[in-house]
């Protein structure tokens, strides 16, 4: 069904989702680490906004709560922690060349198309809106994964991971009007712990191979 017949809020959600998708492309191509973190923060903010909007549309009260949770976690806390880590690791000036940026972006586009093609047969017309949102969030997840495949800098990989999580949140919120609260909390908690651990590992890695280039973590190979 076309955009025209959607209620305004849904249009708004679609717009935000589109922006989030765009941001993860930016994230994919962004070479400066600090900038990438900022982009990620904005993406988190967008997801929070989507949550808020969905909360406005609907019935589920606890969505307001989870919107705030998302905002704090994704837009503020995690970016701040990453930023701090980057500073303590002395990586503010760090930039990373992708080998074939154009190709990577094309791959990302292909993934978007793929995920849309995938969800097409999913449900009857009635839910075209959610279907499209799911397509977008699936694309976010896949692009995040793609980013982890192509970035060989630990922090960048973590960013990829986090943007995958953003995709998940987007799906959870927009497709299902939010998971049960206990799950939301659990997920958030896990994410936080994960972030802390990532921080720990950055230092462990650096002290073991004094670099954060994951390609140099290749002692445990079985190919001679």
């Amino acid at each position: 069904m076309s955009l025209a017949v959607m209620p305004l809020l849904q249009q708004f959600v679609v717009l935000l989702a589109a922006l989030a998708l765009f941001l993860s492309f930016v994230l994919l191509a962004q070479t400066r680490l600090v900038a990438a973190i900022h982009v990620f923060a904005w993406q988190g903010a967008l997801v929070a906004a989507v949550t808020f909007t969905v909360a406005l549309t609907g019935h589920a009260g606890h969505l307001y709560f989870s919107a705030i949770l998302t905002l704090i976690l994704k837009a503020l806390l995690i970016p701040w922690m990453l930023h701090r880590l980057v500073r303590r690791l002395g990586l503010e000036r760090h930039t990373e060349r992708l080998r074939h940026p154009a190709l990577v972006v094309m791959a990302g586009v292909a993934l978007v198309i793929f995920s849309y093609w995938l969800v097409l047969p999913m449900v009857e017309q009635g839910l075209a809106f959610t279907r499209n949102i799911i397509a977008v969030s699936l694309a976010l997840v896949l692009i995040g994964l793609l980013m982890m495949v192509f970035r060989h800098q630990a922090v960048a990989q973590v960013l990829g991971f986090m943007s995958m999580e953003n995709g998940l949140f987007l799906a959870a919120v927009s497709a299902t009007a939010g998971m049960p609260l206990v799950v939301e909390l659990g997920v958030a908690f896990d994410l936080l712990v994960a972030m802390v651990l990532f921080g720990v590992f950055f230092f462990q890695i650096r002290e073991s191979i004094d670099s954060l280039d994951v390609d140099r973590l290749n002692r445990l190979t079985e190919v001679e």
Partner: protein, 669 residues
């Protein structure tokens, strides 16, 4: 009453387990092994023997269910004539080994090897074999089978200091495992049709010819592998010799027969309809094994290796006979099939007797000279008279010479082969005689082999110092050999009685026995009819004795009975030294040269560490290069390919995840 043999058999099972349990204490008190564990083994053997004989004489047929196994598949055990025969076989050999082992294991006391291993696994080994024979469903059969393989593997690896023994053990276990899997698969096929894993429902199963063939092929692969049939035999001469000698006797003498039992059980009892092509396959493979086995035995210089190879040959003969049985059965001559089957069983029994006798003899030599290499031996007959005489009987029996037992079974096999004119198809009619030609050639070569063994080891002059100082082996050891030797003669002289014992098996499996065999009284063995063929072992030995006695008596009357001792003449050359004798290698040289294309011969001189140039002769088995190594290479190379998965780069790993995900999503939608 009818199931008391079964009770007895089970109690022998418990005795075997008890012996292994007792030897767990041997670590603290070494004498326990010799005083308790080994005698218990013998006792278990005797119990099994009695149970088996009872079954065969009373023709009972008892079955029971043990409270073990899966909830819906408890352990079924059954004791029918077929099991009975093999119980007798196991019992005879184990009993003798029990006698022998008491003194043999003594020299392991205070050695570096743990007696617990030896005693514990010997008991388990026996228990496994007994249980295989008693098993009445595939599950317990497989368990018993693998227990047998596994415990014998531990016994092969018993003296694991030498790398060669370890390799042998590994190869042995690998082959055993593969064979076991094949057997399991075969049972699976039968069970799929029978709808149950107990033998009763397998018997009832109606297989389509194709699947029956598959089941046969799998069973033949599995059991044939265990029986060491060529070309899958290469593990056997590695594994059997390295175990302690009394265990080698059990392995070569008994375990191979357990494989024969399994084959008979599956193919003739469970698998119903037989197809003539199976018989042909068996005859072909059996013939190949017989020839390969005997030729490689002939060129060996390690006594125990030689014996192991000759086991390959004898199993080949057994399978030729089984092949004839299948052939006749499939072409509708049950009575001839019965003859061939009985001949096969008879030969299995005989081989068990003389092969274990020979292994025990080899053990006795090893015990008193620490020598396995024929080229170091010589003149042992005068130093170990008892062992020498018993070993001679073993050699005569295995060379199928009248009036000893080996001859009777081979004679029976020839007789059944000569009935090939009954077959309708001309092709088969002309194929069987070729098999018998192979059999004849084998027989002659075996004679050559054992002339070599006995002549080199026991006759002539000692070729090394420690052999010159050999002491006679203790009583227990030659008693064990004596029992077996006596049995060899007995089985040779009273064939009609033995056939009478084996008859129930043929009745059970083929519905008809060989009643005519003893029809003309116990003196005359007439497998088909008195006109066709007859053999009277008792009279033969009687006449031999009479004439020899007469001759001796005739000479004794004369003054010149005493002989004068003098130097050997040797065509007037200088007094011969031990080093001038023919060695094992030189004895075999002419035949080796005639059959040269079969061996991988590496011959030449090599500079020893002491600077002395020596003659070098290594004879390798082609089967290794043809069958074993290619498989190993294939596995290794594919492993190398697969290893690329583990490249070490986390990004590639993530890539794998992504690709897998995308592919799956693609697939499902």
């Amino acid at each position: 009453m009818s199931d008391s043999p079964l009770v007895l058999a089970l109690s022998s099972l418990w005795l075997a387990l008890g012996s292994s349990a007792i030897s767990l204490l041997a670590g603290r008190e070494p004498r326990l092994l010799r005083l308790a564990a080994v005698p218990l083994l013998g006792l278990a053997g005797t119990a099994a023997l009695v149970a088996g004989l009872w079954t065969l004489i009373a023709e009972t047929n008892a079955s029971a269910i043990l409270p073990l196994g899966l909830p819906w598949l408890p352990w079924h055990v059954r004791l029918d004539p077929l099991s009975g025969v093999f119980l007798v076989l196991i019992g005879l050999v184990t009993g003798a080994v029990g006698l022998y082992g008491r003194d043999y294991v003594r020299h392991f006391e205070g050695g570096r090897e743990s007696l617990i291993t030896l005693g514990g696994f010997s008991g388990l080994f026996l228990a496994g074999m007994l249980l295989v024979v008693l098993a009445d469903d595939a599950f317990v059969f497989m368990i018993a089978w693998e227990v047998m393989s596994l415990s014998s593997y531990f016994l092969v690896a018993f003296q694991h200091e030498q790398a060669a023994n370890r390799r042998a053990a590994f190869l042995y276990l690998l082959m055993a495992h593969v064979g076991g899997l094949a057997i399991l698969l075969g049972f699976g096929v039968l069970a799929a049709f029978g709808g149950g894993f107990d033998f009763a429902s397998m018997r009832a199963a109606e297989l389509t010819p194709l699947w029956a063939g598959v089941a046969f092929a799998l069973a033949f692969l599995g059991f044939g592998m265990k029986a060491g049939l060529a070309p899958l035999h290469a593990w056997l001469p590695e594994a059997h010799p390295v175990a302690p000698s009394h265990i080698s006797a059990l392995m070569s003498g008994v375990m191979l027969k357990v494989a024969v039992y399994g084959f008979i059980r599956v193919v003739l009892d469970l698998n119903g309809e037989v197809h003539w092509s199976w018989g042909v396959t068996l005859i072909a493979v059996g013939g190949l094994s017989a020839l390969v086995g005997v030729l490689f035995a002939l060129v060996q210089t390690d006594l125990k290796r030689l014996l192991a190879y000759s086991s390959v040959e004898n199993l080949g003969i057994v399978f030729i006979a089984l092949g004839l049985a299948l052939l006749f059965q499939s072409t509708g001559h049950p009575n001839l099939a019965a003859l061939a089957l009985v001949a096969a069983l008879y030969h299995a029994l005989n081989h068990a007797l003389f092969k274990s006798l020979l292994f025990l003899g080899a053990g006795a030599i090893l015990h008193s000279t620490h020598e396995r290499d024929l080229d170091q031996m010589g003149g042992l007959l005068r130093r170990m008279p008892w062992t020498g005489s018993f070993f001679l009987i073993g050699c005569l029996s295995i060379s199928a010479l009248p009036p000893f037992n080996g001859f009777v079974s081979e004679w029976l096999i020839f007789q059944s082969a000569l009935q090939a004119w009954n077959l309708e198809s001309g092709v088969l009619r002309s194929l069987v005689p070729i098999a018998s030609a192979v059999l004849a050639l084998t027989g002659a070569l075996v004679a050559a082999t054992f002339v070599k063994v006995y002549g080199i080891a026991f006759l002539g002059q000692a070729r090394s110092r420690h052999v010159r100082r050999a002491r006679p082996s203790p009583k227990g050891m030659w008693a064990g050999q004596g029992v077996l030797a006596a049995l060899c003669v007995l089985f040779g002289v009273l064939p009609t009685q033995i056939l009478g014992l084996l008859d129930p098996v043929a009745e059970q499996l083929l519905g008809t026995g060989v009643p005519q065999a003893g029809a003309n009284g116990w003196l005359w063995l007439t497998p088909i009819s008195a006109e066709t063929a007859s053999y009277s072992a008792p009279l033969t030995i009687l006449l031999l004795a009479l004439i020899a006695g007469a001759a001796i008596w005739w000479f004794k009357r004369r003054a010149s009975w005493r002989v004068r001792r003098c130097d050997p003449w040797d065509c007037g050359f200088a007094a011969p030294t031990p080093r001038m004798q023919y060695s094992a290698a030189s004895f075999a040289q002419p035949i080796r040269r005639v059959f040269a294309l079969l061996f991988l011969i590496d011959e030449g001189q090599e500079q020893g560490a002491d600077g002395v140039t020596r003659y070098r002769l290594r004879i390798a088995d082609r089967a290794r290069g043809w069958l074993y190594l290619p498989v190993a290479r294939a596995v290794d190379s594919s492993a190398r390919q697969v290893a690329r998965l583990q490249s070490g780069s986390v990004r590639l790993y993530l890539g794998w995840t992504l690709v897998t995900l995308l592919v799956l999503l693609w697939v499902i939608s």
